[in-house]
Structures are given as C-alpha cells and as structure tokens.
Symmetry: C2
Subunit: 341 residues, 2 copies
Amino acid sequence: MAQKIKLSTIADALGVSTATVSLALRDSPLVAEATKERIKAHARQMGYIYNRRAASLRTSKSGIIGVVVHDIMNPFYGEILKAIETELDRSRHTFLLSNHYDNVEKQRDFLDTLLQLGADGVIMSPAIGTPLDDIDLVLRNGLPVVLIARSIPRARLPVFRGDDAFGTGLATKHLISLGHKRIAMIGGTDDTSTGRDRFQGYLQAMEKAELPVKPEWRIPGPRTKQAGFEAASEFLALPDKPTAAVCWNDLVAIGMMNGIRRAGLVPGIDISITGYDDLEEAAIATPALTTVWNGQPEVGRRAARALLDRIDGVKDQSGTLELIRPELHIRQSTSPVKERN
Amino acid sequence: MAQKIKLSTIADALGVSTATVSLALRDSPLVAEATKERIKAHARQMGYIYNRRAASLRTSKSGIIGVVVHDIMNPFYGEILKAIETELDRSRHTFLLSNHYDNVEKQRDFLDTLLQLGADGVIMSPAIGTPLDDIDLVLRNGLPVVLIARSIPRARLPVFRGDDAFGTGLATKHLISLGHKRIAMIGGTDDTSTGRDRFQGYLQAMEKAELPVKPEWRIPGPRTKQAGFEAASEFLALPDKPTAAVCWNDLVAIGMMNGIRRAGLVPGIDISITGYDDLEEAAIATPALTTVWNGQPEVGRRAARALLDRIDGVKDQSGTLELIRPELHIRQSTSPVKERN
DNA sequence: CTGAAAGCGCTTACAG
DNA sequence: CTGAAAGCGCTTACAG
C-alpha cells in the first residue's frame, strides 16, 4: 500500500496551503476556479482519500445516523428501513444499523457507540422496557432521537407510527360485518404500546357490536411466521371454536394459514384470517391476505425527514406524535361466516 | 447539554496527566490500581464519553467493519448477517451495513465511505459486474476484503459460499429418482457465479440421467417470492409441461407454490417443487419445502472469523475458496411423478 | 483569492 | 508508576 495521501501532500505538491486544498475539494466559492480544478485533478490522480475522522473531530459532525430496530430480518422493519435509506441517501448521510432483539443492554451498547462516533442523530424503535434514563443520556449528549413504530411512555420525543387501535378496529369490524361472532386475537405482547393498542382496538370493536369476548380467545405471544404456524393448533383446539382470527401481524397470519391448511382446513373459507402491516408478501399469499396497511414507507420517510430537519436546525418537534392512519385491504382470506359445529 | 467532558477535564480535576487517564480507562497495567479506580469512578460519575474519532485518528484503527450485500430484506442474506453479527459482537466491532441492490455505483459509494471512516475490514457479497478496479482501490488502501455468497472472477480474495453446482445437482437427482423426466429450472441469473453454477448442476444431472432439456424449461430471472409467484403461470403454460421444477431459491419456490395453488393445482402433488437455501420459512411452508441447505450460518461465521484473523494479522488467506457442502432436505413439496393428460 | 496557525480529543513513545 | 509533548489529518477564524 502506497504512502498515505493527505491534504498536506497535495498542498506541498502544488505549492498551495492545506487550507486552500481543503476549501477547493469542498468546492468553496472562496477558491478561484482554476486553482480548484488543478487541485481536484491532482487529488483524483493521486487517489486521495478524505479522512472523515479527522474532519469529524474538527467539525463535530460525523454524517452518521444510527437506526436501531428489533430485528431487520422482520420485513415490517425492512420496509421501513428501505424508506429511511432512501431519504438518508439523498442527504448523503451514512446509516449505521443495529438490531436490539428487545435486549435493553444491546440497545444501550449501540447508543453508546453512536455517542462515541459522534453520530448526528438516531432513529429507533425502542426495545421493550427501555428506561427513560437511557434516552436522557443520549439527549443530554446532544444526540437527537426520533422514534418509530413504538412509543416510550413519558418520553418527550417525536414518534411516527400507525394508529394501532384504529387498525385492529377496522379488521375486527370487517369480520363482524361478514357475520363472524366468535373472533380470536392471536399474537402480540402487552409489553409495548403497539401491543396494548391493537388489543384495545379489537376489544372495543367487539364490545361495540355487543359480542362476547372469551379470555381463551386471546392467544398472546406470537409475532413470527413460525409462532403463528404453531399457534394454529392451539387455535383449532379452542373450546367453542372461533370462526375467525384477528392476527397480530401478517407474519403471524401467514404462519397460521399454513398451520390451518396442514390441519386439513382451508384458510379464508373455513376460518377467516386478518393480518396487519400489509407486507409485500400479503398480496401473494394464498389465499391473498386481508390485512391492515400500516404505512411502513410513510413511517420511514417521515421519521427520516423529521430527524434531518432537526439536525439542520429547521425545527424541534419533540413531543410530536404522528399517527399514520391505517387502511383495510380486503382480499381472500376473509369470507362470510360459515357456521360449523 | 452540559459542558463536554474529555480526558483533560478528568485529568485536571484529579490532578493527573491525560496520559494516565487514557491508560487507566483502558485498564492498562501501567497504572496503579488505586489511581485507576479513582479515575474510572470519576469518569463514570461525570458521564464521560469516549471520543472514538479522536482515538481512531491517532491509532488508525476504527473498530468498524463494513458489510455489503445485495439486499438485507432477503432472508438468505439476513441469516448470514445474523451469524456475522454474532461473531463481530464478540470482538466488539461495530458493523456498518449497506445494500447495493446490484448497483455498482452504490457499492462504490459505500466502499468509499468505509475508506473515509478508516474501517478495519469489509465483508461483501459483490454486486453483479463489480470491476476489479473497485476491489483494487480498496485493497491498495489497506482495507481487507472477504467475499460471501458470490465470487468475483480473477480476484484473489478469500470467498465463503456454498457449492452451488453440487447443490442443484442434489435437487435435480432427487426429482429424477422420483420418476420425473420433464424438469424445469426457474429463476436466477447467469450474471453471477452462483447463477451459472446452479444452472450447470441442474444441466449435468439431467444429462447424466440422459434426460432431454428443452430450452423453454429454463425460465431465468426470478429471485423473489413475487417473481416466483408470477413465474407460476408461465410455467403452467409451458408446452409439453414439466412435472417438476428446480427453483433458484426458497423464495421463488414458495412464490411458485402460491401461484400453482391459485391456479387450482396442488403443489407437492400435481407439481413437485424444490427450493434452495433452506430458509427458516421452508419448514413451515405448506407443503413443507424440499430444499437444499446452503449453510448460511456457516458462511457468515467463517467469513467473519477469517476477516477478524486477517485484521489481527493472524493470517492472510487471500485466494482461499471455502465451498460449504450443501445438503438436501427432503420434505413434502416433492413426490413421485403422477403423469397427467 | 490565499496562507499561517491553532485546535478538535485522543494515544504513544520517551523521559524520569 | 506518572507526566510533558508531539502528532494523527482535517477545518476555521483571522490576516493579508
């Protein structure tokens, strides 16, 4: 590997100062056009590599934005990340990604790394049980935070997420309108705002229709395809078996449809199923999944925009809560009730 | 936000030098135990944040390892990433992730960022058409590179991937052993080593069994569920319709099974299907997918290990090619041929 | 339009 | 075991 080229190498070679080279490479109007061209050409030819650590040490801006979510392999987050990536690319920020797997320690390590690297901001879907102290530490050190998908109780932070109660309400009412009376709610946890809200939306819709809700009809827990698949047998063994299920998300719904089919029943005909999120996969599942669009691209885009605005000092909207309004997408996994004994 | 705490703040407060503080915080044996404790306690109490850019500027180590793949939303890469993450966490490296979407420019931008940040190494599944020059630039600047999943022709780099030709050979032979004679190969591109190898494995198995291969039976392109779903109708419209399909990967296979079911046929009975990769999802698809295990955890683990060894100067194994031996996992999506019409 | 100089916050020889 | 000093490679007032 050749001798390291730095600003002073170029400055010396061309007989100018490092200040001029620095300015020229960043296209400053302070440098004469001809000088600029000469410097840029030489830098290119020498294979000069800009040292961002040095610049960052001096300016205390790093161009790094951190993003932490539960698990990037979950397509729900994947779809949000794609939107964030698109926004950040446009602003030439580098984004540093991490999973916390709902492990508060792991999340804290990552936030620490961001602080050490002098990150410009962080977008996070907070781990279950994130203490306010962890957020305070970050804010005290001047790192702006924007939340996605989940809120943290009592934290004054901008948050972008869907209106979960409204969403499961839509799904539940849809099933009720198809004549279903015994409707289960499968998956999710009451440890997150999302979990509580989705369950509430279902409960309220049932109550409003004056339909009874048996405690056994709530099978909490499942959040993945695998878990949804396993929950199918539990569901099918329920006494006074429900004819429909509102699922926590599309993954659980798709897993459950697979499980139902394995048991010899036809999902969408024998049992109606709704999902949540409207992942790309929902439309090509068989039967195509009736689900609630949860605005992933909107969440990602707006969160990234809000953070960038904040970094650029455009505005400080701490405490903003933007609920994206979900939409019901009706497909083939729900159909009029067909009473079976 | 409070005054920034730095080494000298602590040094001044305790009446020692910054050198001592620096050493103490890194637990150097050069500092007396009592002094160390005093310094650490004070640092903790003051909320000191280590400035990694400053340290990195001085030491020219950053603790950052870059990882670029085609698309992290693809669970094949997701499963590899999980293994890499586990290895790197252990060594306290931060990993910087990016998708290149097979866009050479985007990949180059990312490599550039890594160079600017003084990354310690990079693990990449190179974009289609990656020029040797891009790799040379990175190597010339002292950044070690390890490849996963795909090779770059003529690049002397360690690469970790599955033995693709052997793998599709396994799948094809399995179908032949079930009596299938007309077997299609769906998806993948001949623009990557992987694509060429998988097609070759299929071809060779067919030839060895003296079965004819019609050009129409090769439907190149699909690599996602969506595309596999769409390819189903193309497949079903084939003249002299095949009774089985070797699919590029599990995503294509699962998409195709959905498409076949939509057309009123039963995948696994009417048409036998094989996947590739053995994603977690393969086992819970319905029917459960017969597929080829492609060693994602092994690929990730070994690639990370190799890079870390390289960084620690343990060894330089440029040119190593580690082919992980695939295994056939037989499930319900393949069954003895049942001639129709 | 250009240059000389200071400083960002660390770590590393070197001296004691 | 501890300290004084130099230097990593930039950028930013400031002066001209």
